[in-house]
């Protein structure tokens, strides 16, 4: 998570002069700050010579960019076909009921945000769940809980 007084321009500076720099700049802010704040939108608009509305227009198209902070851990459950064939629906039900969250919801203690994803390229050993940047194959509820406990320790 970003420091309180992060200089937003410093984060996006490396991308301002490159071709099509808005996407990498959005990624950089999302990664540093955890979301794209109103201040960040204004900073991006200024740097890329867009209006605030244009920046908002671009970022709201993409699932990876969020206007609100997410949980400390993002749990993405794959719902694509190969995982469906290995009961990803049941896994999704298991996890949503265990965490008492629906998809795209963040836990009250901010520990996790539950999301769906369409394919992690781990189709040979599904069902798959990605926690932050780690993919869990042949996933079940206990594997997911164990992994989350380990990284939260």
């Amino acid at each position: 998570m970003g420091k309180v007084m992060t200089n937003l321009y410093e984060i996006i500076e490396p991308y301002v002069e490159i071709e099509g720099g808005l996407m990498p700049a959005l990624h950089a802010i999302q990664e540093e700050e955890g979301y794209i704040s109103k201040d960040a939108i204004s900073e991006l608009a200024k740097a890329f010579n867009y209006s605030n509305a244009e920046v908002l227009d671009v970022l709201t198209y993409y699932d990876d960019f969020t206007l609100e902070p997410l949980g400390r851990n993002i749990v993405r459950i794959c719902r694509a076909e190969a995982c469906q064939s290995l009961k990803s629906k049941e896994l999704t039900d298991d996890l949503t009921s265990h965490f008492d969250l629906s998809l795209d919801e963040t836990a009250a203690d901010s520990k996790i945000t539950l999301k769906e994803v369409f394919c992690l390229g781990n189709c040979a050993l599904g069902p798959s769940v990605m926690i932050n940047e780690t993919v869990i194959g042949e996933a079940d509820k206990s594997k997911v809980i164990k992994f989350l406990n380990e990284i939260e320790e």
Binding site: H27, E81, Q84, C119, A124, G137
Partner: protein, 510 residues
């Protein structure tokens, strides 16, 4: 003194997903680990065996599956060696799953450290680039045309013709864009190249750029592949440092740089025009064609757009495997195709073989049976826009022509197996749901038709007298097919038609 014993522990998404990293951590902290050399290799693509740990001693290399193995009883490296021998290790290259493939493009995967440039070069790597830099651009294009290579991303367009079009444009700036937004459910061949043999993609891109006269290349990689991102960015750095990228490549006067760009969770950005919009920093809305990207593409310049596997196929083509490749198959279905056998299947993984194989042979030879042990009920071929075949269609060939004749497509080569617990009406509804979620929103039939489609299928699932709804669904599918700009809306009806045609009575629940 004899060479150190080598232990190969894969560092690849699927292998790591079932514990390869954990095993690496255990082994690398054992007492006496300095006596051995640990190599983080790529995966062989025989994923059901992962994590597949190999030991090489006196040039004799054997491995064993370490899935779910608890190594806590091992304190020293000798303890591990005893454990390893007790698992009856075998040479993976001798098992049918590997032996019966025709690995031309994926010839190196699993064998060594993907970032070891010396390993790459000692296995024919960069030989093609060296040769190509002494050839005329047209000679390179002619060879690719003659090889019969078609795009492996899904559309199967002849690669050489695309290259010719870009080459023929008179423009001071041209781009190459590698489409690494591998979004089809049930596919991972691009990921495997990028994680387990990234230099082959870099070499393929450099050759293609030389042939068409591009000096800058982009790789548009989906954000769901963080390990591929790490491998690619390191491989690009190493290639730059070794003069395989950058200015005056290998002392020639050819300059080429690669910029890695990351997608942001949009399936449609795998469609080439949406991908260009995204690289340019906009919403991933599909553009209408013409103009073709080859004429007016990225930043309004001529742009060669190819998928990862297509580009990675170029080096072996120009490097002694030309006739081996081009003599396989016939018609449009020339060369090898990396099929990705997955879903509910016992032996899942990457199968590089000719197209001329039936789905039945594919399952029997490579996949064996379902993972659940139940009968196969449906097979989806070619991703979310591909057909579902039923279990009595096992003789269907996987050639481009054969699948086209039944209104399907090989697509990117994904093959997803379902057992008899699958609910085909749910699969049909998912096709519409996926379209609704991923539609870029530009074309109304795709954006709204998909939602109406979900509603109709919902009704079919509950309403018994549904003749009118079936007609409506047909009508909707025809409209989506005829009036959507890209394959998202245009091909979403394909899996639905296939369920209506090949799974009679299964769309409507009784």
């Amino acid at each position: 003194m004899s060479a150190k014993t080598k232990i190969y522990i894969p560092n690849e998404t699927t292998s790591n997903s079932v514990g390869s990293n954990d095993i690496y951590r255990v082994i690398s902290s054992l007492k006496g680990v300095d006596e051995v050399e640990i190599i983080r290799n790529g995966s062989w693509g025989a994923f059901w065996l992962e994590p597949f740990i190999e030991v090489e001693k006196d040039k004799n290399r054997k491995g064993a599956c370490y899935k779910g193995v608890d190594l806590s009883h091992c304190k020293t490296i000798d303890d591990f060696m005893i454990d390893f021998q007790n698992r009856e290790p075998f040479d993976i290259s001798t098992i049918d799953f590997i032996k019966k493939q025709m690995r031309i493009v994926f010839s190196r995967i699993g064998k060594g450290d993907p970032l070891d440039i010396a390993f790459y070069q000692s296995n024919k790597g960069f030989n093609s680039l060296r040769n190509v830099l002494n050839l005329d651009q047209q000679e390179v294009i002619d060879k690719i045309k003659k090889s019969g290579l078609t795009g492996r991303g899904g559309a199967a367009f002849p690669t050489g013709i695309k290259m010719q079009t870009v080459h023929d444009q008179n423009n001071s700036i041209k781009y190459l864009a590698c489409n690494a937004d591998e979004g089809d459910g049930g596919t991972f061949s691009d990921r495997l190249i990028m994680e387990s043999d990234p230099f082959s993609l870099i070499e393929g891109m450099t050759i293609a750029a030389y042939a068409v006269g591009a000096t800058k290349g982009f790789i548009y990689l989906r954000s769901e592949y963080p390990l591929a991102k790490s491998f690619l960015s390191k491989a690009i750095d190493i290639a730059n440092k070794n003069n395989f990228l950058g200015n005056n490549i290998l002392s020639s006067d050819f300059n080429f740089e690669i910029d890695l760009r990351i997608g942001a969770g949009s399936y449609v950005c795998g469609e080439e025009t949406a991908m260009m919009e995204s690289i340019e920093g906009r919403r991933g809305l599909v553009r209408s064609k013409p103009p073709l990207p080859a004429i007016n593409g990225l930043f309004d310049r001529p742009t060669l757009i190819n998928n990862v596997v297509t580009l990675a196929t170029i080096p072996p083509l120009l490097n002694g495997s030309f006739s081996e490749f081009s003599e396989i198959g016939s018609g449009k279905s020339i060369g090898t195709m990396p099929f990705q056998l997955c879903g509910n299947i016992l032996q899942s993984g990457l199968v590089e073989t000719g197209f001329d194989i039936s789905i039945g042979e594919m399952i029997k030879t490579f996949g064996k049976e379902t993972k659940s042990g139940k009968p196969v009920h449906a097979i989806q071929i070619g991703g979310p826009l591909g057909l579902y075949l039923s279990s009595n269609m096992m003789s269907t060939k996987l050639t481009i022509e054969s699948l086209q004749s039944i209104k399907g497509s090989v697509g990117h080569g994904g093959i997803v197996i379902f057992d008899d617990s699958v609910d085909m009406s749910e699969q049909a509804k998912f096709s519409m749901e996926f379209c609704a979620k991923e539609s870029c929103g530009k074309c109304t039939p795709c954006r709204i038709g998909s939602i109406r489609g979900m509603e109709i299928i919902d009704r079919l699932q509950t309403n018994k007298s549904s003749k009118q709804d079936i007609d409506l669904l047909h009508d909707l599918c025809e409209t989506m097919e005829a009036t959507s700009l890209c394959a998202m809306g245009g091909m979403t009806p394909n899996p639905i038609y296939s369920i209506i045609n090949h799974f009679p009575g299964e769309l409507t629940k009784e």
